[in-house]
Amino acid sequence: MEKKSSENATPPVAAPLKLFGSWASSYTHRVQLALRLKGLEFEYVEEDLGNKSDELLRHNPVHKKVPVLVHGGRALPESVIILQYLDDAWPETRPLLPADAFDRALARFWCHFADDKLGPAVGAVFASTGEDQEAAVRQVHENLALLEVELRDGAFRGRRFFGGDEVGLLDVVLGCGSYWLAVFEDVTGVRLVDADAFPRFNAWLRDFEALDEVRETIPAVDRLLEYARGLRHMLLGLAGANAAAPSADAPTTAAAAPSAAAADIAVDI
């Protein structure tokens, strides 16, 4: 079959990998975790989301967001798309997606649920107060309940991870994001993941967070707390003069683009 060597073909697998990301972005963490699980070396570039680099904007002109993975000069934006690319380009190495077509469909469905429903609901809790927040919390609980049902009786019953004995695509997608739940609980004072109401979800999250590659990837909880506190003050326009002093990494991001930063945490890719 005639196949032109076009600008569109995959580069050789040995070509260098460069990841543009943001340290507090769960979407970035997904890609970092996936690369580590697959044992792939990569260069990491920390982007200031309030002042994005020309290189990032060149690689993602449509959305202008992180993460972007550049493989041998070819740019790949959108975390879930990047993760599937890693499986397509390195099929022999620690697959993230299951082999069976139906199981793959399930994984993709729940990944979309995570980004389309659960993520925005969690973001809404974080960005609101009072009755609005109560409504958002109910939404989060409804969403978690759906996952709990799947873990208890449904598609994922009896499994340690959504991917089975080992983490897969859905674990990476849900997991890199779920660590914010405890952080947001702390910052907002709202109960999100009751261990009694969601025992299996809690057990899964605990097992996920205990993995070496995950611990390498997720920032320390005190950094996340500090970042989240600063962000919440911005979002709610509270007199935040005596909020914990932001770290060196946080201020430009939080100050310059609070809604963008909040969006990058939970809502937007």
Binding site: K4, Q84, F109
Partner: protein, 234 residues
């Protein structure tokens, strides 16, 4: 692994839904025939639909040997993987990522930017909302150039209909119907020659013709909808 008639494969859908249309188009492209199609009344959803899609309760749902697959793009990928037949997604990993990227763009950016135009009722509103829909169309014109390359292949999928084609294709009959009623041309031939040519070729393809509703039928529905001042949920 040919689908036997009836119960082996069932599609729960609604004739007007772009997401159902695109699944039908994908099934046709893949050469999957003999499935049972169930037209759902979205005001009175069937037990089968609600139990097959407990999370969203929405169409389309593809039920294969009793196992439901939900979300149109998830279904399209499933169809591509579960049946032999012409490939819907490309085989090259990078090209696959581009196809996924543009399909997501179509649903997450293009459609939301067009939707206000679809909902507009006055000439004034229409002028404003139509203008706001154009930037996404410009982006898609560039996308088609990227996907079809300098050789000017007819589809986003190259020589044959692929993933991005059905992603956009699900909306095409609606786009034409609204253009007809509003007196506009979203994929204007002068401004967007490649998209205009794509729209014509896509609509003329056998697989698509059989899988898509007639534009005239949508026009009738759309006019009624506008007159009744109800928003359509699709």
């Amino acid at each position: 692994m040919a689908a036997a008639a009836g119960v082996e494969l069932r599609l729960l859908g609604e004739w007007l839904s772009p997401y159902c249309i695109r699944v039908k188009q994908a099934l046709a492209v893949k050469g999957v025939a003999g499935y049972e199609y169930v037209e759902e009344d979205l005001e009175h959803k069937s037990e089968l639909l609600l139990s097959s899609n407990p999370v969203h309760g929405k169409v389309p749902v593809l039920i294969h040997r009793g196992a439901p697959v939900c979300e149109s793009l998830v279904i399209v990928q499933y169809v591509d993987e579960a049946w032999a037949g012409p490939a819907i997604l490309p085989s090259d990993p990078y090209e696959r990522s581009r196809a996924r990227f543009w399909a997501a763009y179509i649903d997450d950016k293009f459609f939301p930017s067009w939707e206000p135009f679809f909902k507009s009722k006055t000439a004034e509103d229409r002028a404003e909302t139509f203008k706001n829909a154009i930037p996404a169309v410009e982006t898609l014109e560039k996308a088609l150039t990227e996907c079809s390359s300098s050789e000017g292949k007819p589809f986003f999928g190259g020589d044959s209909i692929g993933y991005v084609d059905v992603a956009l294709g699900g909306y095409l009959a609606w786009i034409k119907a609204v253009d007809e009623v509003a007196g506009t041309s979203l994929f204007d031939e002068a401004k967007f020659p490649r998209l205009a040519a794509w729209a014509e070729r896509f609509a003329a393809a056998d697989a698509v013709r059989d899988a898509s509703p007639a534009v005239e039928d949508i026009v009738v529905f759309y006019k009624k909808m506008q007159a009744a001042e109800t928003g359509a949920e699709h």
